[in-house]
């Protein structure tokens, strides 16, 4: 990759700024930006574009997915979830259990609903502020359709997605519909 003069200039300026400025100040501003981020779902739009390409065949998860019981790992929205289902912990598929706080940011999956054959963008928001929910092993899920490494963080499900919450302790994960993907 040839790096242009402008890229170099921009990077040098950014690094000098970063070296001089206070990280905590930046963190504070970023936290505010993160709190507002769900109002502007830019990434789901990007994912929707990507997902609009015709899917020739279904993945193993999609072939076996069901749309009746949201407290099971094979529930269709859980195609790329890693963690404990909040529905097994006093919450629901888009509800945090009492005493916990939803993370304003999340990782994103694109899952197919077998009931209507449509694909939806799913925000896997973690519920934070309590230690991990002690539920049955059946509620510990680790699925990976379109799941990416941590250098593609928006599609990476090993990260503790408790950014911008009062506490970053991980309790459980939800799977809220953001919109239709195709």
């Amino acid at each position: 990759m040839s790096v242009s003069f402008l890229d170099r200039l921009g990077e040098t300026a950014t690094r000098k700024l970063a070296a001089r400025s206070s990280r905590r100040g930046v963190l504070g501003r970023m936290s505010a930006a993160m709190a507002l981020a769900p109002a502007f779902p830019l990434l789901p739009v990007a994912r929707a574009d990507a997902a609009s390409a015709p899917a020739p065949t279904l993945s193993d998860f999609e072939r076996r997915a069901q749309s009746r019981d949201a407290t099971k790992c094979n529930y269709w929205r859980h195609c790329a979830i890693d963690g404990v289902l909040c529905g097994c912990c006093g919450g629901g598929v888009h509800t945090c259990p009492p005493g916990t706080e939803p993370s304003p940011v999340s990782w994103i999956g694109t899952c197919r609903n077998p009931a209507d054959g449509r694909s939806y963008v799913i925000a896997y928001r973690d519920c934070c502020g309590r230690d991990i929910c002690a539920t049955s092993k059946d509620c510990h899920c680790n699925t990976a359709d379109r799941e990416m490494p941590i250098y593609r963080p928006q599609a990476s499900n090993d990260i503790i997605w408790c950014f911008g919450t009062a506490s970053t302790a991980y309790h459980c994960s939800t799977a809220a519909i953001i919109g239709q993907a195709s």
Partner: protein, 386 residues
């Protein structure tokens, strides 16, 4: 009444005889002495030691030959551990809260003496990245001078820790990139979302030199696993993609990246595709790779599955010669495993963690299971040197 008296007399006599014989027996053996409580220390780190992440509370030190616990290094399930290159200290990078699940967040680099396991120093860190089971979140330079801690807030950076002075030297932003892979000397590289490496040269002071490679892997369609391996002694790295392509790389300010080769092709199997119904042998798991320093061989946890099964447990371990691009042997596992490690020596032991937390220790050359240990283990291991 008479009968009762006689019976009682006999009983008394019999009891007296027993007491005499017991006293005689005791006279032959020394009286047990009072004891002082003491504390064990460890021998020097041995090649067959391994440290699985256990019970979300620690890395437990096992002697792989004896199959027994030697000691415990505390760490949460988000903690990372590194053995210093001189094997004298264990470093643990961890995150705690002052009141358990809330309060003041504290990110720490903790230094434990490898003989006594005493906590020697604690270095305060900026907020670390919090993600489960990634050894590549933290490493130490081969000369033992610098610690590299991956940060995510969610902007990504690496904190460089001056281990000689127990202080943070500086933080280097690595936008769009993640994890740390140390060079032989003078810096580290990170994997990037555009399929490239970013390379951070740092030898102290204020300046860090940052370079980027050209994209060399397809991050959209066949990304490289996070769990790439580095031999710190040589600065050589092996990165493996979801479909099983190996990219041998010599890390540095300008990394040299070899042409990729296929694990499956090396084993005489069909190359794995990236279609969601392409059934093939594939690498997978939470710690799917290991590298034996004595032979230079790569060990890969393999399963039969379709694309997007990169987290699935493996049923076999394939030993490969990454120079000859050739399969050495396939090792059957006693039960599917999510993580593996291999000892660094010429008589290697393979460790595999099953989903139920049991660890099998396997003689690599014979494939025989030596032991199964109820370890309450997660799928991440530390072994000496690698």
């Amino acid at each position: 009444m008479v009968g009762w008296s006689t019976k009682t007399a006999w009983r008394a006599a019999f009891s007296a005889m027993l007491m005499v014989s017991a006293a005689t027996a005791h006279a032959d053996t020394p009286v047990l002495q009072a004891e002082q409580n003491d504390v064990a220390t460890l021998p020097p780190v041995a090649p067959h030691w391994f440290l699985p992440a256990t019970a979300h509370t620690a890395y437990t030190i096992y002697d792989g030959d004896a199959g027994r616990i030697l000691g415990t290094v505390p760490a949460s399930s988000l903690g990372n551990i590194v053995l210093s290159p001189d094997r004298k200290v264990f470093y643990v990078a961890d995150t705690i809260w002052s009141r358990g699940d809330h309060g003041t967040r504290q990110d720490l680099l903790q230094e434990y003496d490898a003989r006594t396991l005493k906590l020697l120093r604690e270095i305060e860190l900026p907020p670390r990245a919090l993600a489960v089971y990634k050894k590549q979140d933290f490493d130490v330079s081969p000369d033992g001078r610098w610690g590299y801690v991956f940060d995510m807030s969610p902007a990504t950076a690496v904190t460089v820790v001056d281990l000689a002075h127990a202080s943070v030297a500086r933080t280097v932003d690595i936008p769009g990139c993640a994890l740390v892979f140390p060079w032989k000397a003078g810096g580290f590289s990170s994997l990037c979302g555009d399929g490239s490496l970013t390379n951070v040269g740092y030898a102290g002071g204020a300046e860090a030199k940052v370079t980027h490679t050209k994209p060399f892997f397809d991050a959209n369609n066949d990304p490289i696993f996070e769990q790439g391996l580095v031999d710190r002694a040589t600065g050589r790295a092996l990165f493996v993609s979801y479909s099983g392509k190996v990219y041998a790389t010599t890390l540095g300010q300008d990394p040299v990246i070899g042409a990729p080769w296929s694990i499956q092709q090396a084993a005489g199997q069909p190359v794995a595709g990236t279609g969601v119904q392409d059934l093939a042998w594939r690498p997978g798991g939470a710690q799917p790779f290991a590298w034996n320093r004595a032979s230079g061989h790569l060990f890969v946890l393999m399963h039969v599955g379709t694309y997007w099964t990169h987290k699935a447990a493996g049923t076999e371990v394939w030993e490969l010669d990454p120079v000859a691009h050739a399969l050495v042997r396939r090792i059957d596992l006693p039960e599917p495993a999510r993580g593996i490690a291999v000892s660094p020596d010429a008589a290697p032991l393979l460790y595999s963690t099953a989903e139920n937390g049991k660890i099998a220790t396997i003689d690599v050359r014979s494939g025989a299971v030596r032991r199964t240990i109820e370890a309450q283990a997660g799928p991440m291991f530390l072994v000496p040197d690698m």
